[in-house]
């Protein structure tokens, strides 16, 4: 059970992370929709689940977190700032040539385990890491966050078969189930449902959880078993654009490049004040 103060801390962190994400949505913009959908998940994992910290990032016994749906990296950048991996000032270098803070993660950012951007890769990479941890008899866990749209990629399912075959019970696959792929709803393009049954059928112990409820996430992750020979799958039900009602669940607002004024009024919206009016062009980019 999460104590009230722990819950408050998580909510405070998540709000800060959303502020960072929003500030990265200008001067070139970012994939804000998917970043906002996974922000609570990423904050929860780093705060409560992953055995890793800035001072033990080279520790071979640490838990690994791999962001396979790399375009939501602003959520990770923001979390890294709040957790002390990355100095806050570096976020001002977003998309600048003097740093490596761009639209997808890379290992020049302290805390990033592996680069991504091309979908359907990091479950496989995670399998390799998980295999090595097992070979060495180590107890670290490997968490891979995938997008629901990303599950179109055959390599994800290939990797699940292999993870199950190799009894990788140290592997946790989390699906940010925000119901959207780039341009359309997943169920309108390549339906995934019944997703939980598919993941179960591929050999994963599967749980479904509200990806914006820290209490719900805590009850799933704190009870997870790592000695049953089975990979874990968590379907986290989320909302694309969560926290900003004016872009939430809008197909045309997945990549946004707002004006400075819009950022100001969206910041108010994020804090529960008046809704923003957005004039800037809706972008559909992939």
């Amino acid at each position: 059970m999460l104590q009230p103060e722990a819950l408050k801390k998580l909510q405070g962190r998540a709000l800060k992370v959303r502020e960072h994400i929003l500030r990265m949505s200008t001067d070139g913009g970012c994939f804000i929709g998917a970043s906002l959908s996974c922000a609570d998940l990423v904050v929860y994992l780093y705060e409560k689940f992953l055995q890793v910290s800035p001072d033990r990032f080279q520790d071979p016994q640490r838990d690994y977190f791999l962001l396979s749906k790399g375009h939501d990296v602003p959520a990770l950048y923001g979390t890294f700032v709040e957790m002390g991996y990355l100095p806050k000032e570096r976020l001002k270098n977003h998309l600048k040539t003097n740093d490596s803070i761009y639209w997808h993660p890379n290992r020049a950012i302290p805390g990033v385990e592996f680069h991504s951007g091309s979908l359907g890769h990091l479950l496989s990479v995670g399998i390799g890491i998980a295999m090595d941890c097992k070979m060495r008899g180590q107890k670290n866990r490997v968490v891979v966050l995938v997008g629901d749209g990303e599950l179109n990629e055959g390599s994800c399912w290939e990797a699940l078969l292999v993870a199950s075959a190799y009894r990788l019970d140290n592997l946790v696959v989390i699906c940010d189930r925000n119901q959207f792929q780039a341009n359309v709803r997943t169920e309108e393009l390549i339906p995934l449902e019944p997703l939980a049954q598919k993941l179960e059928a591929f050999g994963c112990v599967t749980r479904q959880v509200n990806g914006h409820s820290f209490e719900a996430m805590d009850s799933v992750f704190s009870e997870m078993k790592f000695d049953n020979g089975k990979p874990k799958a968590v379907i986290a039900d989320t909302l694309r654009g969560k926290g900003l009602p004016s872009i939430q669940e809008r197909a045309d607002r997945w990549f946004c490049n707002f004006t400075a004024e819009e950022i100001q009024s969206l910041m108010k919206e994020l804090h529960g004040e008046s809704l923003a009016t957005i004039q800037s062009e809706a972008l559909i980019v992939r």
Binding site: S118, H121, S124, V125, I129, M131, S155, A159, V162
Partner: protein
């Protein structure tokens, strides 16, 4: 000593080595029982195998990855480029039945663009041993080098009386088999055996042949190519590969860089798939038997 025997010795010496396959065990059958957990067969999942190899390499392992050359290079190409190439991880790709060795399998199995693709990945080394013995000579150096590497697996021995490879193997150094004044014959992989036949026939006709087994196509032995070019009147690039991106292209790039030009005869597959058949018949049909190679070279020499 063959590849499998040597690999067995090496994996026992160094537990960083893990052996992986996408269910192709032809040349590693004795390794599973020896290696336990360090032998990983992912099933017919080339993408996952390469991604997992990257993950293992991140943790300090040296994955030696096996599959048929076409499926190893093409199916997971983006995984090789993205997960192995971008971070420069020491994953070793052992490509079985490359080039003419796919014999009667047909175009689906013809890896004749593999050199082109692999050398196009920054930092990837490309090894094309002229025989199994040549592979054995270089294997330890290749596996221990800190770079991603592609190995065009060669199961054949050279079928020439008394032929012996030069024992010294160095990454980026070619094996100059003979020095000559008329024709330079540059080749790699399976066709070295036929090149040796061709040399014998050309010499019988009074030509002096400079024969080079390139061994590694990336890094290329520039000096060996330039020396061969300087000392002869005709340079022949011989390869079981499309003309694009293989040895002919490498030599052309090297000439441009060094402001050199030469008479060059390219003996390659051009832009065609080869006729599926047993190796000897493929060589005959496609014009890559020793006598046919010699004949094509003689015809060009007469035009010079």
């Amino acid at each position: 000593m063959n590849y499998e025997t040597l690999l067995k010795t090496l994996v026992q010496k160094d537990d960083r080595l893990v052996v992986m396959t996408a269910e192709n065990r032809a040349v590693i059958r004795s390794l599973p029982s020896l290696m336990g957990d360090r032998f990983i067969d992912t099933g017919i999942t080339e993408q996952t195998m390469i991604g997992a190899a990257a993950g293992l390499a991140l943790r300090g392992r040296i994955p030696v990855v096996h599959a048929l050359a076409t499926f190893l290079t093409l199916r997971p190409f983006e995984f090789i480029r993205t997960d192995v190439g971008i971070p420069g991880l020491p994953v070793k790709l052992v490509a079985a039945v490359p080039g003419f060795y796919s014999e009667a399998n047909g175009p689906t199995h013809q890896a004749i663009e593999d050199v082109s693709l692999m050398r196009g990945i920054p930092g990837m080394q490309v090894f094309c041993p002229g025989s199994q013995e040549d592979l054995v000579l270089g294997l330890e150096a290749i596996l221990m080098s800190p770079h991603p590497s592609y190995i065009r697996f060669n199961p054949r021995s050279i079928q020439q009386e008394g032929f012996q490879h030069q024992k010294e193997f160095k990454i980026g150094k070619a094996e100059v088999i003979s020095r000559g004044k008329d024709v330079a014959l540059l080749t790699y992989g399976a066709l070295l055996n036929e090149a040796l036949d061709a040399r014998r026939l050309l010499e019988a006709q009074g030509l002096s042949v400079h024969l080079v087994n390139m061994r590694t196509l990336k890094p290329i032995d520039e000096e060996a190519v330039l020396e061969a070019t300087r000392s002869t009147k005709l340079v022949v690039t011989l390869e079981d590969h499309f003309q694009t991106g293989g040895l002919y292209s490498i030599v052309a790039e090297l000439y441009l860089k060094n402001r050199v030009t030469a008479d060059v005869l390219s003996l390659s597959l051009g832009e065609r798939w080869f006729k599926p058949a047993l190796l000897k018949d493929v060589l005959d049909f496609e014009g890559f038997s020793g006598p046919q190679i010699a004949e094509k070279i003689m015809a060009r020499v007469r035009e010079l």
